[in-house]
Symmetry: D2
Subunit: 347 residues, 4 copies
Amino acid sequence: MHFASDNSGPVPQQVLDALHEANTGHVMAYGADPLTDEVTGLIRDLFEAPNAAVHLVATGTAGNALALSTLCQPYQTVFCTPCAHIHMDECNAPEFFTGGAKLTLVPGDDRMTPEALRHAILNEGNRGVHGPQRGPVSLTNATEWGNVYDPDQIKALAAVAREFGLPVHLDGARFANACVALGCTPAEMTWKAGVDVAVFGGTKNGLMGVEAVIFFDPAQAQSFELRRKRGAHLFSKHRYLSAQMAAYLRDDLWRGLALRANTACARLVDGLRDAGFGFANDPVANMVFIRMPRSVHQRAMAAGAVYHIWEGALEGDDPDEILTGRLVCDWSTSDAEIDAFLTVIGE
Amino acid sequence: MHFASDNSGPVPQQVLDALHEANTGHVMAYGADPLTDEVTGLIRDLFEAPNAAVHLVATGTAGNALALSTLCQPYQTVFCTPCAHIHMDECNAPEFFTGGAKLTLVPGDDRMTPEALRHAILNEGNRGVHGPQRGPVSLTNATEWGNVYDPDQIKALAAVAREFGLPVHLDGARFANACVALGCTPAEMTWKAGVDVAVFGGTKNGLMGVEAVIFFDPAQAQSFELRRKRGAHLFSKHRYLSAQMAAYLRDDLWRGLALRANTACARLVDGLRDAGFGFANDPVANMVFIRMPRSVHQRAMAAGAVYHIWEGALEGDDPDEILTGRLVCDWSTSDAEIDAFLTVIGE
Amino acid sequence: MHFASDNSGPVPQQVLDALHEANTGHVMAYGADPLTDEVTGLIRDLFEAPNAAVHLVATGTAGNALALSTLCQPYQTVFCTPCAHIHMDECNAPEFFTGGAKLTLVPGDDRMTPEALRHAILNEGNRGVHGPQRGPVSLTNATEWGNVYDPDQIKALAAVAREFGLPVHLDGARFANACVALGCTPAEMTWKAGVDVAVFGGTKNGLMGVEAVIFFDPAQAQSFELRRKRGAHLFSKHRYLSAQMAAYLRDDLWRGLALRANTACARLVDGLRDAGFGFANDPVANMVFIRMPRSVHQRAMAAGAVYHIWEGALEGDDPDEILTGRLVCDWSTSDAEIDAFLTVIGE
Amino acid sequence: MHFASDNSGPVPQQVLDALHEANTGHVMAYGADPLTDEVTGLIRDLFEAPNAAVHLVATGTAGNALALSTLCQPYQTVFCTPCAHIHMDECNAPEFFTGGAKLTLVPGDDRMTPEALRHAILNEGNRGVHGPQRGPVSLTNATEWGNVYDPDQIKALAAVAREFGLPVHLDGARFANACVALGCTPAEMTWKAGVDVAVFGGTKNGLMGVEAVIFFDPAQAQSFELRRKRGAHLFSKHRYLSAQMAAYLRDDLWRGLALRANTACARLVDGLRDAGFGFANDPVANMVFIRMPRSVHQRAMAAGAVYHIWEGALEGDDPDEILTGRLVCDWSTSDAEIDAFLTVIGE
């Protein structure tokens, strides 16, 4: 009953096999190997973007921070939601990599609205040299609250960004989960909707630690490789990143893994709904934020369930107080685990 | 005949096995897993440093830059050699991670002398607030030229640093090759000789990408974890770093791999010496800088040998001009490859 | 009728005289002159802080950004209000000087409440290495909205900071105006209330460009001089900063200037109140935020009044819409100007 | 007998008068005042550069660091001499403002040669993403050793920079002294010789603290104003910088002041030469590096002369050891002071 994070599970056998397969002979380091070229080609095909600049990094934070630093000057500000990973969970990495840019929090929930975005943009960059200048708009899909923007919603936000000449960054740590939930293509979720640079996440969806940063206009990627190197994120034995990503792309493994995670989550959601509990999000991807009484959370955890309380504190006097817990499924979450959890909370 | 780099070879089967073994079930992310604890213990044991702070990162540049940023204020300068990896090959990563510190190049070769170091230190930090203040001394062992400092040499350099109250950083990308060449213990090469923080490299010696950063005084490591996170170098699926490092430490695999690399290099060196060529370094570890006529280099490369010309240009009019080539052996370099190379250059 | 800013007026004759008087012979540069020593002594006396570290800079932003960078690590966050000058009007200078720290906006108005501060602190720094760590609390007095914290209010906020071991910074661009409005001593407004570092502003109160940064615990100022130098804020001909500050301190000129500005503002406030308009702040210092219909603002500006509309837009269809204008008085604002303005708006 | 620095003397009466004259009424802050416009026009005229972007700052380090940060990416390196002020005397300000760029020291003396520059450029930027990329070339005129590049020498260096597409920065802390020594126009010393951005220094030549940063191609200045603001170098009461610079430009005051300084230095040089001492520089501007026995330096200082020993240590056993002292003249250095010094050393 481990629902703490999609960072907690194992990787599928295909990934181990790919590492094994790649582990032969000498190849040139730093990405000058054939497997890396192959990955570039596979991603361009998948995204229907034959000219895209594609670079691999090992952490999602690296993908986000490097991509933003390429698009954002140090005297600018990035527009994001108050719960954005780049704001909440990267220990100032965006500020570090951009050389001191600011993050402007667009008021609202985890899904930005075009109105709130336009308002926030208008409010910034209107004080001449005194305030920060307007910089990139950063979206997350699926969001940190497990919600999903559909392509039209992204298009509407990107249109606002375009009005002001601002580029759009997509944090895709759970890109696959969103894509599968939406039933759309990667292109529809990104450049066709106005996204300039996407981080196509692999780590949370079954890789050991690989993300692809994709610039749809390669001119925007000009400094990325240098920033990756000086950020110490260029792997010498790059083939081991490429091998994982190649496995992820072959036979649509990435889609299959996300489908398993989303399906597991749906099973969990159904059970929770049947048990009469409410949700703090629209759990169409692989995370559910469940609103249950403290006593139920306590019983679940006592029985061995592992997950985070997102709102409220597990310890407290009132057993009936409603606390929000975050449960995350990954490709390896078993029906048995889910059913065991549902049994515990249903008791 | 691939001698381009110790970044080019495969990893030993034990590493793949360890990844396979670690790939089971759910564990807490970001290093809060039992395997990571085990690795910390193994490294403390190996280094006879029960209180050391130990952190894993995936690239050597990350290890160096993060370690230096922990020890060096932005208004200070790091003392290193003109050929130091941190100066030559990290695209300003030390400047980036320290927030703009300087590197002061201590004149001389790849092995700093105590006299040159003292002179450089005296020359800096004597202009009040106008110049940079004195910061860490950074050594590399084995050096970028494949030479080795013995513990007494490190001790003498560290003693100079101590005179001025400066900490000592050791870039150990080829730590194992040096240690095996010296026949000393890791402790003798580090804290017993006055090193404050060592990067114990795994990547060049058979791992996919893992380095251990070891602070012998944990108080000095205070901000390291935060800097690692904001540098985007904290792995969520940390177990896959730990698994590799655990394999590396078990049964002294690290030592065995380095011994294989050094032994291969010795075979190469013997052959080159027999062929009458001179060396630009003292090739006791796994790299030889060989001085051969242009025509011989050209013949070798035409026959498929892969390595870098370090001094001079491969193309040129004079076939007899002596060029320095760098040949690197790793644990997987075969006798057959070496002998093939020796045959080609001996023709 | 120039009420645009207290940056717009001239300097009093005493300042010019002091520059003239200091302009004789050769003295050592970079602050190693007797006048600078005298200023240090005068400020220590004024603040009843015999051990304070005192440094002069030429801009308020430099004072704030350098002071914060001395107290705040790059992986921390500064707590301030949403309208703080450091957030709104310094073009990311705090982020730049701290090496990428974040600013956490404490919800509420221009005067932080202890409850809101505690809540904001509790919300940050509770995500381990993932989020930014808690850093300094930054207050402004008088605030950007011309309001004033009294010593008890500062004490209450500083007490919250102390609970969490956080230092307190005071942006004192309008320190004198607050101090005069409160009728308290500089010590009561700062270290006696728990402030660790104060920027004692001179520029907005009659100097050409001089601010004193005062660390009450000199140990906290350790790196300030180096940061000032590398920030390019150490003046070689430092005597001209010192001369201005010395004049400012002699005979309590600073207090007299602020009294004139506040008194002028009070005259303006009385007239506005008599004219039946409401205020968006509590105008006890030298700024009034006046709520008047668009048509009245338009008439005033057409008649030559110079000031900024703070909320709303001067152009618009509805002549009766209430817009908030900011009017600032300085030591040189004349009764005639005020009366002329009141006449215009009263027509 | 104060020859410590051209930072030590007073300012001429015209500067005080200009401050007095500018000190009337209210004007818009931050450079939006008529005097600032006038200064821009005067500088464009003086430099025969009608489109130049002109910005004032208060310190030479600010001018250099901000100009370089506008031209240099954080993953690049600046080419300068080993004795460049930006390297030796700015406490890492260039590294700070550029976000972590490196400085590559072009071997040789204070005046770079085209051959040495070309060699240094070729040596950098040839390691792909591993090393820093090539960035601006930075020259100082007059140099830190009081020597002067003539326009042809600058042209030859700029031509090398152009070969590689690199911009040229001129540190003109002693621009006027060089210009007067050369008898050339400001345009000949700058854009006509290939300089992209010049810092036209006023501080060392008689202002309290004002330097003009001049971009001959305004497109290169795009971010300068934002960088100046976030560097806390935009003065709110900007008129007091402009007033000084306006006075400096009117009636060629800048040239007259430099002429006085250079003439004073020539008198000193003549006397020293007559006394039989040798020089470590070619003292055509306002600094002489004089090689005299320790005993003579000691006698001079005992008699009250103030200057710095540049090479060697004043204290020492051997009275006959030759030490190099730096003597600097400014516009206010009197013949009497010089003669008194010559008398002392001639005794």
